[in-house]
Each structure stands twice: as structure tokens, then as C-alpha cells.
Symmetry: C2
Subunit: 519 residues, 2 copies
Amino acid sequence: MITPLLGSSFIGYSRSTGTEPCGTAVQPGTGSVLEPVYHSATPDEVERAMALAAAAFPIFSNRSAADRAGFLRAIALEIEGVIDDVVERGMLETALAEPRLRGEMGRTTGQLRMFANLIEEGSWVDARIDRADPDRKPIPKVDLRSMLRPLGPVAVFCASNFPLAFSVAGGDSASALAAGCPVVVIAHASHPGVAEIIASAVIRAAKLTDMPEGVFSVLYGGGRKVGQAVVKHPVIQAVGFTGSRSGGTALMATAASRPQPIPVYAEMSSVNPIVVLPGALDRGEDEFATAFFGSLTLGVGQFCTNPGLVFLPAGKGDGFLAKLKSLVEAGAPGTMLNAAIAKSFVDSTAAIASVPGVKTLARCSTEAGQDQAAPAVFVVSIEDFLKNPLLQHEMFGPATLVVRGTLEEIESAVLGLEGQLTASLHATEAELAAHSGLVFALQNRAGRVIFNGFPTGVEVCNSMVHGGPFPATSDGRSSSVGTMSIFRFCRPVSWQSFPDAALPAELQEANPLDIRRME
Amino acid sequence: MITPLLGSSFIGYSRSTGTEPCGTAVQPGTGSVLEPVYHSATPDEVERAMALAAAAFPIFSNRSAADRAGFLRAIALEIEGVIDDVVERGMLETALAEPRLRGEMGRTTGQLRMFANLIEEGSWVDARIDRADPDRKPIPKVDLRSMLRPLGPVAVFCASNFPLAFSVAGGDSASALAAGCPVVVIAHASHPGVAEIIASAVIRAAKLTDMPEGVFSVLYGGGRKVGQAVVKHPVIQAVGFTGSRSGGTALMATAASRPQPIPVYAEMSSVNPIVVLPGALDRGEDEFATAFFGSLTLGVGQFCTNPGLVFLPAGKGDGFLAKLKSLVEAGAPGTMLNAAIAKSFVDSTAAIASVPGVKTLARCSTEAGQDQAAPAVFVVSIEDFLKNPLLQHEMFGPATLVVRGTLEEIESAVLGLEGQLTASLHATEAELAAHSGLVFALQNRAGRVIFNGFPTGVEVCNSMVHGGPFPATSDGRSSSVGTMSIFRFCRPVSWQSFPDAALPAELQEANPLDIRRME
């Protein structure tokens, strides 16, 4: 390890001197305690991080896009300089394997560079120009120009299941910084060491690129305590979160009850329904079961887009179920991210299994060890499914519920589903064309609709929507992945009758940044 | 009158048979009761309007943009066919003068045609295309395409102060319909007859253009009763509102407490601060006072963008104040939109006048008659202003508060203001350049910043932001005027690996609609 782990928060460019312990990392699968002890930021330090962020906002948000892009690229480089530290510590803290951590690191630095490119190109600000017309009757027309501007300091909560891509320098932080918002990160208790390594890299990048102190702080002390204090603070103007439904809805309630309510972007829970039509089964039930099992168990099922609900036409798919049963029984338990998630998997699968009408189709034959999850598949009729809303609840991990009914029942059930991140249809092209009502229902319930594919695997690109109606997210108008995610931290501002030189460069008459504008 | 007034709600293409009276229009200034009696929609009828809207959504949202544009243009034409009815009834119900009502009618039909043009052109949907790359390593890249899609049925509350442009077929309805959302309007008790005339025109247009029944309903029965029931209904996916802060925050609370929270776009209250620097006074204090008085008293001050707060440099502007005093004293009281608004003006000006340190600079010499407001100007030192948050409250009507302090004090006070629809700076270009901190503060507190102009007069165009941080609106990321307002009723959706023919036309490979796309 080249990064010393001090166990303390980053209050802008200073380190916390708080002495109240808030926990240590624990190795999943062994329960071993990992040094060092972490300490809560003190209330005064939280206040100072807020004051620094407030002071940084006018400076940082008025830096040129090229300057901000340089900061983002410097973060990517600094992170790459400590990748071995991240992998070493990450494997201990999260039980994720080295290839996954290296892959997630590539995604993280890729996101930072994607946003650097986006803001350097500049057209994302949606510049709009309506020029004056002093001769217009009955009243002269004024000059009006608008573009997106950053909201202000943003609170970002680290995710347990993405210690890199949705944590300290993950998608929320990258998009907020790209927009021009200072960021205050609340570290996750499950991987505090990784957070500290990445935080050190970000702070080095901020200093190297001469960013104002306060553009970035990372606080330890827990989401419920320090996190709630941050979200309540008047300086904070938006919140990014990936985690549980209870955690996300608690943040929504806190944000809504502020004297000034603020937007919360919480990516919370989704069962990612898959509808299977007969034609898809005709292509080969074994192959379909194998592909499905791969998506279900990828990363021990610890993805927001894990396929937790399958609609199967009544009387069809016995071959699919038989093959899935054999795969699940022969499958291997996997160590989960932490003990709490492993316990929650046991509890949520037990809750589903105990609902009247639910049958356990298959469980992994190998018993789960400490902090492990073993794949499981449950089956229920659509009548029983519709009777109990609990059956729409996420089992975070490698478990799924198969619902069998007629196509009419399935279409009707999909219409009544809660909001989802994704919804998939497996069918022939002829079936796709013949079931427009079903396709509309799937699209209406999700941020992303998938044809003949599986929902795991989230491409980071311009057209990715990783969002969806509540409770998939708190705000279905947004995406937390891809370039669209920058819009979460912006609002439009109009300038009326301003002299050209006083306008942002994006709106000046000569278009010095050469961006696409609506005019 | 060519439109018969029946006093009943529009439940899709049927008329309500509810018999519970919910009020009559009352002529402001006289208190005369205007026929007919209006009747509440029954709970069953509200339920039926919801069911019709839900059934209309998949049909309407999948109609081509050209079809929806035809509907919007037909509404404009049908409204133009009843303009004399609207003016005749509108003058009685609102005390607004004929030129204002004809002007607002032009704005209303202009908005409808603006949205028709916008959706017919089609690029507003933000189409994004990332093509597949089956050879990509380590995993193949899938085909992903995204665009904005409508949220679902929208509830629109009519505004008291814009019986046409922010009511039945106003900006909220026009933008929601343009997006592809069915609309359920809650009529305002202050101008039920105008609402009925316009509703009849919209329903005729819907039938003429073969729109699904349920694309439009208009309910009587009041915002608190029928309106709350609508906002709580699971069919409704967003809310548009222009009105008081108490009304808007009540809707926000209702929407946030639903099992599925939904976005509320409430445009609520703003004092539209104006900062005057010495150079602006040097150009002529009398002229400045005259122009300011014109903005302050336009439409009896009943605009969301009325300038209710003026920051004047200490020791400067005595000439401005003297001239303003003479104008206010010689001014005329005007009849307000209804008795409640007139009473609220009396109450809010009395509350401001009674705050310690506040002096009444001038009141109109002519006493206000029934339902009238008389212009008034109050003055306070910046020290006293900062002591009492009440002084930031809106006095809806022709009254303003002048705050005097040093430039440093003013910049600091602006930073601490609540969110505003607009913020204006009157200064020379040299002063503008020299006070970047002040300009940043103004921009940070408002949706629209204005240089050497007055906030009244809201241009309907691409670059207008009629929005701003809370409490100016419930959602500072939005505008309720201009083409941007359509974004309020949309969310992005991704299609992954769909065959070309199954994609929306906007995303098909050949780009048949010839729209601008990000690819």
C-alpha cells in the first residue's frame, strides 16, 4: 500500500481530528477486522466542510469547462496511480474479485473522462438564444439567452455494491463535478479504506489542478448520522444515493422536510421483470436457462439490475425451469459484500418463500458459508402473485421469482408493477410486433427496455437510462449512469438584455466555444 | 354568448351530473353573483375521469407528433372561435380589461401553436443513439437508443391571475399535451365561466382531431377537495400549478406522501429583487422611477414577476424615491382579480408596514374601493431587513419594499435571499463588470437575471426560464413558460437491442422524422 490509511475524514484539504470511532472495515466471509479504526467527522468539521463547499461553489462553477475537464482527467490519472492499493484493499473489504475490481476501476476512470469530454465539447448546456427585436409590435422583444447552470454543492452517498463506480469518485461525483457542483461524499461503512484511497487521489488532483479548497470533502460517520446532517444542511442543493429503498426513502423525506426542499436522486430497488413469450422458449429452453442463470448469479446477484422476476406463459417453459433448477442446485454460493447484505438476502428470500402459493423450485445444494448467498428460484401462479405486494420486493442477491400466467394476465400484471430500472422481453420479432400493449406496459414501468437480452451489464454512454419510475428511483426523470446523469445537478438560467461580454462564453454572440445552440 | 354555460365538469366527452353546488363566479368590484351555479364533480366522476385518462395515455402518447400537433392547433382555432365569449365573460369574472384579455388570448393560442411547431419539428425529444459493436472487448457492445417519453396523465390547476395563459388551455396543459400526457384540469373558482368556455373549445378540438376520450377533462369542485383527490390518485403522474405558496406547498406535501411520489411543478411566490447601482441612478432618477412604477402597477401588480423588493445603495436614490412617492400618491387604485386577493393584499401590506424599522414611503391618495388595491411603497434599512424574514414575503399586488444599504451589504443580502423567479440589476456596463460577485449572487437566486430592465413581461420563447429555486417554484430545475416547459412532463427511456421497426420513429436508423440526434 502506497496510500497511508489514517481513518479520518477529508474536510476540504485538511484531515479530520475527530476522535469518536465509527467503525472498522470487516472482511466479509471471515469477519476479520481490518485496520485502521475510522472516526466520525465532528459536527464542527461537518460545518466547515459545508462552509468550504459554499465558498468553493462560485469559484468552481465559474471555472471554464476546460479547467473542470482537466480536474476530472487528473482524478482519473491519480486513481490509476493507486489501482493496486484499491484492488488490494477492495478485495479485503468487499469480497469482490480482482478482475471485477479492475473492471470497475476502468469504468470509474472511463466515466470521469467521458464527463471531461462532454463538458469540453460543451453543447450539453442546452444553450438557447432568442435575439432582441426592438421593432416588434405591440412591445419590443428583449434579448434572452439561457443555458444550464450547476445547482450548488451536492451530497453523494457511497454505494455498498459499487465501491468505485458509485462511490467516492463514481458516477454521482463525476457528473456533479462536471456540472460545476462541489461535492461532499459520505463514505460507506462497508469499504472505508477504498474510500480513503480514492479520496486521497481526488484531493491530490484538486490541488494539482488548482481547484478551490472545498470542491471536494469526504466524511466518515455513517449515513444516518453524518449523512442526515449533511442532507439537512442549507448549503447542500441536491443528493445522489444508490442503496436500499429504506435508505433512499429516508433521504427523500429528509430533503422534502427542509425549509428549502431539494432534489434527491436515489437509485433504490428494482426486480427487473423479464417477460418470456413462447417464441423465445422455442429457440431453446436450455440455452435460455443458462443465459438467465448467468445474469442472475453475476457478482453474486448484487446488481441493481439483477433479474428478480420472470413472467412465464402458463403451460410453457417446463424445460427452462428444469434446466434452471439443475443449474441452481449445482451452483456455488458466493460471498456477499458484507454481513448485513448476506443477512438481508436470507431474510428476503425466506419472506418470499413463506408467501402462500409460492413454491421453492430450487436451491443451491451447497450450503452457504459465512456471509454467503446461495442461488434460489421460487415459482408462483399469477393469481397468487397479484394477491401479495410483497412478491414485488427485491431480494438483493442471486434469487428470482418465476410467475406463470396467460399472456393477458401477464400484460395486466406488468401494467400494475411498481417502477423498475429495466424491463426485458424475450420473444421473436413477430411476437414483439404482435404485443404492442405489452411492450408499452414494459416501457411505461421502466427506464430501460431490453429485447432478447438480460438487464445486468449497464453500458456507460449517451443513451443509457439507469433510472425509472419510483421506487426504482426517487426521480424517474433522471439517469444515474451515462452523460444524461449530469442533468440531475443543473437548472436552466435565462439572461435578459445582458451585454455580450457579461454573458457566459456559451451564450456570447460569437459562440467562442463553438457549441451547438438553439437559435 | 355562443357557448352555453351549464355549470358542470367535463368528464372526458361527457358532462357531469353532479348536483352539489360548489359556487358561482362573483364579479370583483361589485360582488354581483354571475350565473350559472357550478357543481362539483362527484367522486365517481373523478374516478371516471382518471380511468379515461389512464385509458387514453397509451393511445395518445403513441399518436404521431404530427397528430398531436394537429390537436394543439385545433384547440387554438376553436378558442379563437369563442374569443368574444371569453372576453365578455372574462371581464365580468376577473375585472381584467378587454385589451389584456385579448392579449392573453393571443399568448394562449400562440403557446399552443409554439408547442405544435416544436413537436412537429421533433428534435426536442433528445434522441440519442449508441450503435452495437459486437466485436468490442472484453464484452460486446449492445445497441442502445434513448429519447424522452411522456410521464402519464397530468393534473393542471388553473391560476387566478392568468385565466387563459395559465388555466384550462394554458402553458401547463399545452406542454403536457405536447409531451403526450392526457390532462385533467381543476378549474379555479374565480373564473369558472371562462374555464367552461375554453374547456368546451378543447373538447371540440379533441373530437375534431379524433383524440381518445379522456385526453382532457375539466373538473369543478375546488382545489382543496377535488384537486387533492386528483393529486392523490395513482393515475396522475405529475402536477402543474400556479398560485400561492400555501397552495403550492400543500400540493408538494400531498404528492410527496403518495405511495408513489410524483413531481409537482408549482410556481408559487417571488418578490423579484431589483438591485440598483449608482450608475443607473445617474442616468436619471425620475425616468427610472417612472419605469419602475409602470412595472410595479402593471395589471394592478398581479404578476408573479412583479418587482416587490428594491435594493438601493445607502445615501443614493433620494430623487428616485421622491419621484416614486409622487407617482404612487397620484396613482389610481385598481380592481383586483377577486375579493380574496384584494383582502390578501391589504393583509400582506399591513404585515410588512408593521415590522419594526419599516416606514411607509407612500400610499396612493385615492382610497381603494371594493376589491381594489392601491399602490404602496415601504422603505427599510438593510439591518432591519435582515432581522425579519417576513420582509421577504410577497405582497401580491402593486406594493414594493425598498431596502437601503451599502453595496457590500446588498451583495451579502442577495446571497441570503430565498429563491426568485427573476432578479434584476440596474447599472452601467462598467458597474456590471466590476460586481461579478453580486451578479453571481443574483443569478444563483433566480431563474432569470435581467440587466437594465424590469421583470414584468415574460417572453414565451425557447430561452425563457420562468422558474427558480424554492420557494419561487417547487422545482427550480424547470420552467413553466416557453418550450423548455415540455421537459417537466417527460422522462428518458432507453431501448436496448430492439429491431428497427419496433423502435419509435425518432430512433429508427433511417431517421424518418429527420430530427437532430446525438449519435
